[in-house]
Symmetry: C2
Subunit: 323 residues, 2 copies
């Protein structure tokens, strides 16, 4: 009988669930993606996760019996020690024992199941196999529908006392503003950027975005924003540059307080915009960080993109099996 | 010959230097304080540190030969591994090898000298023997002339990659404000509070502070601010409450991002104002922190006050000798 040396990494989102099968050398053998269908309830979601894992194993020409561990990144607040999803709005879960439910459905003796927050897992992926390689004090920032973050401190994923660390999207950027809660996510997520662009266009500002989204200002995606910037659209450029300024300032605050060695910037908006976005973030970062030596902190774009989740989840599970 | 079991903790500031002698059970045997006289240059400062240590030993009826280690907290940026003060404005030091210089002046074989930042050392003191006991993920915030901070993560003093971690005073609170650099220290240090009170009084706002400082509005100290609040002075209360709001928001951001278990609040202003100040800070903290569970993070006033430095420096040195 062969040693069990396969690891499965799962990236569970409100819309899609992906599973990747990795061999003993962390090489990806097969990847599968399905709809999550959260509205069908937790039992159905667990079954779809297992189906996705099985399809990924088929693609990899491998069997469930050879899997030593499954790592899974899930959205929301996670109790990492118990493998429980405390609260995940887009999955409609509260105090859901994901680790136990998954192990119960897979029914395999000795299988290790590791659960962590999706953004932590993505940060870990970039750390072990992406833009964060070798950066032992690393912040991952993911700018998309929302803004999430993860922290690697001294080469270990950092969770903090309440297991909620890394939530850079929820730091207050205008503590004395209206109601005192303009968070980074409120100001700089793709949602915030799209809403502001929509509002300004409706207030008679001219922009190519109207044409790019065929008049549907309620549905401005990262791709259209990137295209507008490529066409040097003044309004979209201005809004995105301002939002990148907030991201840079928030990153500077975290680097100031944690004296970090590096930051990886990912997520749908950052990936669609690429270099120019990174430059705007870096400009603001350099203006705000203290002391000046911290400008040596490396800011990089993510390298793994969408696959950071499965890569990181598998790597986390691997480290649990190996330790 | 008796075992060397004494530890000396030194708190080096721009104005004063204090030394405390502790026995093997971390009991304080004797404490001495002298002027630093930084203007006389580094050689003279080193001699005054050693003189202060020797006087503290005399008070303790102990001898230098029984000292196993000296811990010293110094202001500014410190290279902890090499014991070098990289930059300390109020000591006029740049790249000064404090650890080596001190060991050279004490001239004793096998003596361990440990150098760290003064605020880190104060935070460590509160962690081992003050309000932070048992709080393994702890932020120390010290509000005085400036605002400093230190971090204990997972029971260890956290320095970060560039050795500058904890600088909560330098986080940007208004990243889009004028010049983009209104830091927490700019907004909420005792200096900032005193300047704003002075400005407002000069602009015809009424306040008992004028009487309390005998008209010397350029010299508003923590004591006078505390007295004005006790007399329910509207202006001073308003300015201090607003400044405490910034401190609470900054603490909330750090607790959000690091998922901390507790925060100790110290420094001249916080200690002079006590309970009401803590309450204002806590109100803002609770408004800003995310997620809500983090309201369980404990906010406490420092217990050690002025002696946090010598206690923490000695404890750091002890941990180095014991490890």
């Amino acid at each position: 009988m062969a040693d069990k040396d396969l690891i499965v990494g799962v990236d569970l989102g409100g819309t899609n669930v992906s599973a990747g099968v990795f061999d003993g050398k962390s090489k990806l053998l097969g990847l599968q993606k399905n709809k999550t269908k959260a509205e069908q309830g937790s039992d159905a979601v667990i079954k779809r996760i297992v189906k996705t894992i099985q399809e990924a194993l088929e693609i990899s020409k491998s069997k469930l019996e050879d899997v030593a561990a499954v790592g899974i990144g899930a959205p929301g607040a996670i109790d990492v020690k118990r493998g429980v999803v405390l609260n995940a709005v887009n999955l409609r879960w509260t105090d859901f024992p994901l680790g136990k439910a998954l192990a119960g459905e897979i029914k395999q003796n000795g299988l290790t199941v590791v659960v962590d927050n999706d953004v932590n897992v993505g940060t870990w992926g970039e750390y072990v196999a992406g833009a964060g390689r070798g950066i032992d004090d690393l912040l991952g920032v993911f700018v998309g529908t929302g803004i999430g973050g993860g922290l690697v401190l001294d080469g270990k994923l950092y969770h903090g006392h309440f297991s909620t660390a890394g939530e850079i999207g929820h730091i207050a950027m205008h503590p004395d503003g209206p109601l005192g809660r303009r968070t980074l996510e409120n100001l700089a997520s793709r949602t915030a950027v799209a809403n502001l662009i929509g509002d300004l266009v409706r207030a008679n500002r001219k922009s190519v975005i109207t044409k790019l989204v065929e008049g549907n200002l309620a549905d401005i995606r990262s791709r259209a924003i990137a295209d507008a910037i490529k066409e040097k659209d003044e309004l979209v450029t201005q809004v995105v540059q301002e939002s990148a300024g907030y991201v840079g300032a928030a990153i500077a605050n975290m680097v100031t307080v944690l004296s970090l060695k590096g930051v990886v910037l990912g997520g749908g908006l950052a990936e669609a915009l690429g270099g120019p976005y990174l430059k705007w973030v870096r400009d603001a970062f350099e203006r705000h960080v203290f002391p000046l030596e911290l400008r040596d902190c490396k800011l990089k774009l993510s390298e793994l993109g969408d696959s950071a989740g499965v890569v990181g989840a598998a790597a986390l599970a691997r480290s649990r099996v190996d330790s």
